[in-house]
Structures are given as C-alpha cells and as structure tokens.
C-alpha cells in the first residue's frame, strides 16, 4: 500500500495554554517546545533534530523577518536548518506539511514544527491593523472588511441559500464552548447557551460576538520522526496517514461560490487519495472554526458529511463528543482559541492526545482515526491532515 510505506509519525506534542498570557513570544515558544520534548516517551536529544519549521504571522511585528532562527536558539541548537512558514491562519499545518515532505524525502529523520503567536499585547487599533492583513488588501480590506466581515458575507449567503436561521451558527458555538469548557488549556473555558448567542452584540451581521473566535496568545510544537526511527522515541506513535493542500483566489469576490471553500475540498481530496482509510472511518475532526460558519463549511468541504448535511448533523448533535462524529473536541478555534501561527500545530497536539487516549474528560472514546483541517484567511489556502494509530 503506497500510503503506508515511508510514513511519518508524531512522537511528541505540546502546547501552552491559549489565552491572554503575560509571556512574550519567545517565552511562549520555549514553553511549548519544552512541553513537546518532554512528551517524547523515550526522550529526544536536541542533536537528533534535523530540521525546524516555525509558523507565525509575526502578529504586531515583533519579529517579521527571520523568526525561525529563534526556534533553533530555544532548542539550544544554533546551526539547525530552519524555515519560517506563513500561510496566515494555516501557517501551522503548512509547517506540518513541509516537515512531512522533508522527512519522507529522507533529508532528515526528525523534524520540529512550531507555531507561535502573540496577539493580546497590541493596543486595539494596532490589533485591527493586523487582523486583516491576510485578507485581500486592495478590494476587500479597502472596502472596509476584515475577516469578521468576510466570513459574515459567507454566512449571510449560506443562510440565504439554505433558508436557515442564525441559530444553526449558535449550535456550533454552544457545542464548541461545551467542549472547550473541558479543556484546561482552552482560552474560553465556559459554556454558552443559545440564548446568550442570540443576545450577543453584533460584530458583522449575521455574526455576533459568540460566532467569533477570540484573539489569543499561544504556542504549540510537535515532534515528527520517520517510520524507521519513530519507535526509538515512543511505543505509541501517531501516524500521519495523509497530507493535502489547496489554494484559491485570495479575494472572496473572485470565487465562484460563497457556500464552499474549494481550497478545503482540494486539500481533503489529496489527503484521502492515498490514505489507508476513507472519510466514513474518521472518528474525530479538528476543523477550522475561526467563525461558526467556517465549521459548517468545513464539514461539507472535507466530505465528512454530505453536501447540505452540515446544519442537520450539527443540530442533531452528531458533532458533539459522544455523537457519531465529534468535531473540535478541543473546543476548536472558537473556544480553545486562535493564536494564528500556533493553531494548525495545536490541532495536531489535540489529535495526538486523543488518539493516544490521553485527552481526559473530553476523550473521544475509541478514537483511532482523526482529521485536522486548517484554513488560511477566508480560504485562500487550506490543508487537511489525516492521522491514525
């Protein structure tokens, strides 16, 4: 089986809490790195690492150029080949894909993927400078849109075409907050009700405050190893069983549809093409829910539910922990938080713990196959990774 040879394993994973944290970016990176290295069952020497990837937008401008060298510094390995990867909110999973490629090519045996973002230390005006930088500048931003507005346009069209009430968005928020309340590392560890969702202040119609992910600080790191060496580090590796990427027009206005993100579809198709299991066998998914509408789009675009089924699946509770397809058991971006560069890596941290049955009260029972889906901006880039044990 093509897909099962030359595999890559996740042998360690760690992250900081997400939230408004007092630590500067380097301290966040260091903490996540130590967590990840400490999670490697049989230990890992810094000397074993052959390549490093740092995913960050550099939010606020703390280190826009050359930040990846800091990963080598914090590892205590100056000299390590490193790269900065940036695909907006999909930077983390892009780093994962780069490392996956490098390991499969045989260029090295062990690679680190780190993601970090420090967002809450910016004054509100500067924060808004940065929140829109990954959208299309000339037309979208300068017509007055940031991502809340862009996703609002997607949501308005989605609800219009399908004759839906905004309550279906509320159902996503209620579920993900319920999950996040069980995650000690989540940013917003509190349940919300549908009434609270309805009554929340509007941000960009039809989206209200509880439709939007928070602005978070945080870092996450995963340790990847080639199949040949993986068992040196752990007896319970989590295998990367598929990697897919896709892209699309940067601006919403150039897309042909507002109710699907083709980049996600392409990424999912590629990921499943060589995977040893099909969509029906996926037991849990971390989906990119920067806004509630995004989770509905992602459910259908990844093919985890049939086209048009996402609202029904959500309203019926199929996507809750305990349902047939738990989505975002971590709380998702919505509740766990969204430190941009860290997000895609943090999704893998959740999958790592879930598939190793280490997820505590939010453990998805019997989970052996998982999907992680990460979107850059409003779908200009997207990645899907599949995991199994």
């Amino acid at each position: 089986m093509t897909g099962r040879t030359n595999r890559v394993a996740v042998v360690g994973a760690g992250q900081t809490a997400y939230g408004a944290l007092p630590h500067p970016p380097r301290a966040l990176l260091r903490q996540a790195l130590f967590e990840a290295l400490g999670s490697v069952d049989h230990g890992l020497s810094a000397e074993d690492v052959g390549e490093g990837y740092l995913a960050t937008l550099g939010f606020g401008g703390w280190q826009i150029g050359n930040p990846a060298s800091l990963l080598a510094e914090e590892l205590g390995r100056p000299g390590l080949p490193v790269s900065h990867v940036e695909n907006a909110c999909a930077s983390g999973s892009t780093g994962l894909r780069q490392a996956h490629h490098a390991l499969r090519s045989g260029a090295c045996d062990v690679a680190l993927v780190a993601g970090v973002e420090k967002m809450t230390d910016q004054p509100s005006a500067r924060r808004r400078f940065w929140l829109g930088v990954s959208g299309e500048t000339e037309w979208e931003r300068l017509a007055g849109l940031t991502f809340a507005g862009v996703y609002a346009l997607l949501a308005e069209r989605y609800l219009h075409e399908r004759h839906l009430s905004p309550d279906v968005l509320g159902a996503v928020a209620v579920k993900n907050h319920a999950h996040g309340a069980m995650n000690p590392l989540a940013h917003l560890r509190k349940p919300v009700t549908l009434d609270q969702h309805r009554a929340a202040p509007r941000v960009a119609d039809p989206l209200g405050l509880y439709d939007c992910c928070p602005v978070s600080d945080g870092a996450a790191v995963v340790v990847l190893a080639r199949e040949e060496v993986a068992r040196r580090y752990t007896d319970t590796p989590v295998w990367i069983e598929g990697s897919g990427g896709g892209s699309d027009y940067l601006a919403l206005q150039d897309r042909t549809s507002l109710t699907t993100l083709p980049a996600s579809r392409k990424a999912a198709e590629e990921a499943f093409r060589h995977a040893p299991f099909s969509r029906e066998k996926v037991q849990l998914a971390e989906l990119h829910d920067c806004f509630t509408i995004a989770e509905l789009l992602a459910l259908e675009d990844t093919g985890l539910v049939s086209p048009g089924e996402a609202p029904k699946a959500t309203l019926e509770g199929r996507t809750r922990i305990g349902g047939s397809l738990p989505v975002n058991p971590s709380g998702g971006l919505k509740s766990k938080g969204h430190p941009l560069g860290a997000t895609g890596v943090g999704q893998v941290v959740e999958v790592f713990h879930q598939l190793r049955k280490e997820a505590g009260p939010r453990q998805v029972q019997g989970a052996e196959r998982a999907l992680a889906h990460n979107v850059g901006g409003s779908g200009a880039t997207a990645l899907v990774h599949l995991f199994g044990v």
Binding site: R128, A143, G149, L153, S165, A204, L252, D254
Partner: protein
C-alpha cells in the same frame, strides 16, 4: 456662436429629501466627477474643461494632481483643463472665456464646472463633508456641432423613487428645438452668492431662451453685483448675488497643507498598506471598472493584467468596462464597531456602522463595495445597485476614493421568492 449644449446639476445625497445617509461621503471632488460624467453622456466629444479646482486640491490629491485625478475619473485623455479660483469672479471668468472661445475659437467645445460648498472646510483632512453642497456643469458647443439631446429624464441618476441625485438638461440647437425647462433641485438651500449659483442662474436663463441665444458675458460691477450681458447687448443683473471681493470660497492656503502633511496620520496602516503609487495604478479599475474580457473563456479580469485570471489566456484579451448600474447584491453585511480595518476607524468613530456588499455583475464578475446613501442595514440578496464615486478613507494627508453601491430597487421577484423563510426556526 456658442450654444449651451447640456447642463448638469448634482446634489449630494444628504441634500435630497428622504435619503438617509449612513456617512456623508461626497465632497467637491466626487461632485465634480459626477457632473462631468453626466455631461459626457450628452457630449462624448472631448471637451476643453474649465474647472474650479481649488476646493478639491487638499482633499482629493497632492497639490498639482487635481487635473490628472479628474481626467482619470472621467476616463479622458490629457485634454486641457484650465483651473479657476473658486470665487464668483472665477466662475464668471471661466464662463466668459468658454463663450469667447466658442464664438471665435478653435473647436468650440468646452465645459465649465464648479462646485459650491456652503460651509468652508475645516482644518483637518478628516473633517466631515460640508453641510450643503452643489455642483454645476455646463457644456458648450458651437451651434452647428450640437447634437441631438436626449430627454431630460433619460440621463438622470438613480431611477429610484427618491429625489434624483442629478438634473441634466440638454438644450441642443438642432431643428430649433426648444430647450428643456430647468427644474431646480428642491432640496437646495445653499447661499445664493456663490459661483455655482451664478452658473445655476444661467441654466435657468438657458431654459427660457432659444438655444444659442445665451449669456455672453458675466462680470461683477463696481457695485459688486453680478451682471450678465446677453447677446443683444442688454446687461441683466443677476439678482440676489452680491459679490464680496476676494472672498475665499474654501480657499485653504498651501501652508495648511504642508502643516498637515507633516502631521502624523493615525490611520496610516501598519498591517496592510496600499501605497499611493499602487492606489494610482489601480484607478482605472477602481474608478471606471476597466478590465480585460477574455475572448477564450469570457472571463473578466480586473485590474487588467495581460492574462486571463480564469483560464490563463494571454491572447484575445480586449479592454472592457463593466456597466455602472444593473449589478446585484450577492451577499452583504453591516460592519459594527471593532470589525472595521483601521482605515475606516474615522468613519466608524464619526458616523458609526457601515454596510459592505459583494456585488455581482450581469456578465459574471463580482466585486466588493460599500453600500452608501442608506441607513446601515443588510440589503436583500438580489437587490439592484448603481455604482458611484465616493470617499473611502483618509490616508497620508488626502482622501482615497472608490466606487460605492447605491441601492436602486428591491430584489427581483425570483430572488424575493428565495428569501430566507426559516429565520425564526
């Protein structure tokens, strides 16, 4: 002999009864642009334009760029634009020069445009637009060159039930046709002693006279009264327009500009940035919807880039312009406080929320525009819009301009039938 060929009067939305405005976004520049657009529909030949440019100098452009900005907005090549100061004398002199030229001059085609703002601009670039404004444009042609003139209703602005935004009259000389009676803008309440008002009175005069038998000369007397001398030699005072010598209409000295240019502009983006050069380069697309139509796949690429963004073709691309009206709302949202990019902080702080929509053109492409001349509200999917040039945001000492959508009518029946029905469920 010069004949008044067409005239156009434009009022900003807030001057028109029954129009709620979510953020006044019209100014001297946008009004002049609109007047020129209307005149051009009647007189496609390239005009020689005489424009009062002082009032746009400090809002629309760096000093010295006023003329090129107007030509860009009108889509005209480098025709001659003669600037005049915005004083009653300036407007009168512009008019006289145009008539003289028509009577003895070269091609005899000329525009006279002016804009009148009832309150002077304040001290900052982000000052709100004036409380009262009007722009007037007259197009002259030699009698024999005047062409057929469409009926007045035809070229008017938005065909909504609201008060129209503009009045266009043609008074062509062909076949002894009587000029169209001029009906003044009902909401207009600017003071009378201003250059635009003088031009307005000429429009009125033209509507009462035979085509071509128009005012020959406008000047001020020692008594500071505006007088027009008609062709038979009679001097007719322009009643009610005392002229105050040297009264500066919105004359902002250049020192103010320099002081301002050196001042920090809080809305300077540090995250996403469209430089002045890139902005200027984008204007054919941004202001006139110019792009390339692909002969292979029919796709429209804006801005034009020499290859089709849809199929990649590099041949059979033809310059095309999207129509300014008839596009429909594909989706829309109201941007609330905190969801705006910093470029729009000023708007959000001054006027509050604003509306943004994706607008789909009949032949395919979709573009993103703010929706203006309405209270912030999500318009119905499928609603028809017209696109008008308006202020976008201030940056680096001047305003950036772009098209915005004005709702023309409700969604067509077919779209209305698909309106959300389960919103309460």
């Amino acid at each position: 002999m010069s004949a008044l060929h067409a005239s156009a009067v434009v009022l900003p939305a807030w001057e028109r009864g029954g129009v709620a405005v979510e953020g006044p976004d019209e100014d001297a520049f946008t009004l002049l642009v609109r007047v020129g657009e209307l005149l051009r529909r009647h007189q496609p030949a390239l005009p020689r334009a005489r424009v009062e440019v002082q009032s746009i100098r400090l809002i629309a452009s760096m000093p010295g760029e006023e003329r090129s900005q107007l030509l860009e907005a009108w889509g005209l090549p480098a025709v001659e634009i003669t600037p005049y100061p915005e004083t009653p004398e300036g407007a009168s002199r512009a008019l006289s020069d145009a008539l003289d030229e028509g009577n003895g001059g070269s091609d005899g085609i000329s525009w006279v445009l002016t804009v009148q703002l009832a309150s002077p601009a304040g001290t900052g670039i982000v000052d709100p637009p004036p409380q009262s404004a009007i722009a007037v444009g007259l197009a002259f042609a030699r009698g024999r060159e005047a062409t057929a003139v469409p009926s007045p209703g035809e070229a008017n602005g938005p065909t909504s039930a609201r008060t129209p935004s503009s009045w266009v009259t043609g008074s062509g000389a062909k076949g002894g046709q009587r000029p169209t009676p001029f009906v003044g803008p009902p909401g207009y309440r600017a003071p009378p002693d201003a250059p635009a008002t003088i031009l307005l009175s000429l429009v009125e005069a033209a509507s009462r006279a035979d085509a071509g038998a128009l005012t020959h000369w406008v000047h001020t007397t020692a008594e500071r009264t505006a007088v027009r001398t008609v062709l038979d030699g009679r001097k007719v005072p322009i009643v009610g327009y005392p002229v105050e010598e040297g009264r500066p209409w919105l004359a902002v000295p250049d020192e103010a500009w320099r002081a301002r240019a050196g001042a920090p502009i809080s809305s300077l983006s540090q995250g996403a940035y469209l430089s002045r050069e890139s902005y200027r380069a984008s204007l054919p697309g941004r202001w006139r919807l110019e792009g390339e139509r692909c002969g292979a796949c029919g796709g429209f690429t804006l801005p034009p880039s020499g290859h089709c963004h849809h199929c990649g073709a590099r041949e059979k691309l033809r310059r095309d312009r999207l129509p300014r009206s008839g596009a429909v709302i594909e989706s829309a949202t109201v941007i609330r406080k905190g969801a705006q990019p910093t470029e729009f902080d000023w708007h959000q702080e001054t006027y509050g929320n604003y509306t943004v929509g994706l607008v789909r053109f009949r032949d395919g492409p979709t573009l993103t525009f703010q929706v203006t001349d309405q209270s912030p509200a999500v318009p119905a999917v499928g609603a028809t819009v017209e696109l008008v040039l308006r202020r976008l945001y201030p940056q680096e000492g001047t305003w950036r301009y772009g098209l915005k959508a004005v709702l023309l009518g409700p969604a067509p029946a077919a779209a209305a039938a698909t309106a959300p029905v389960a919103r309460d469920g």
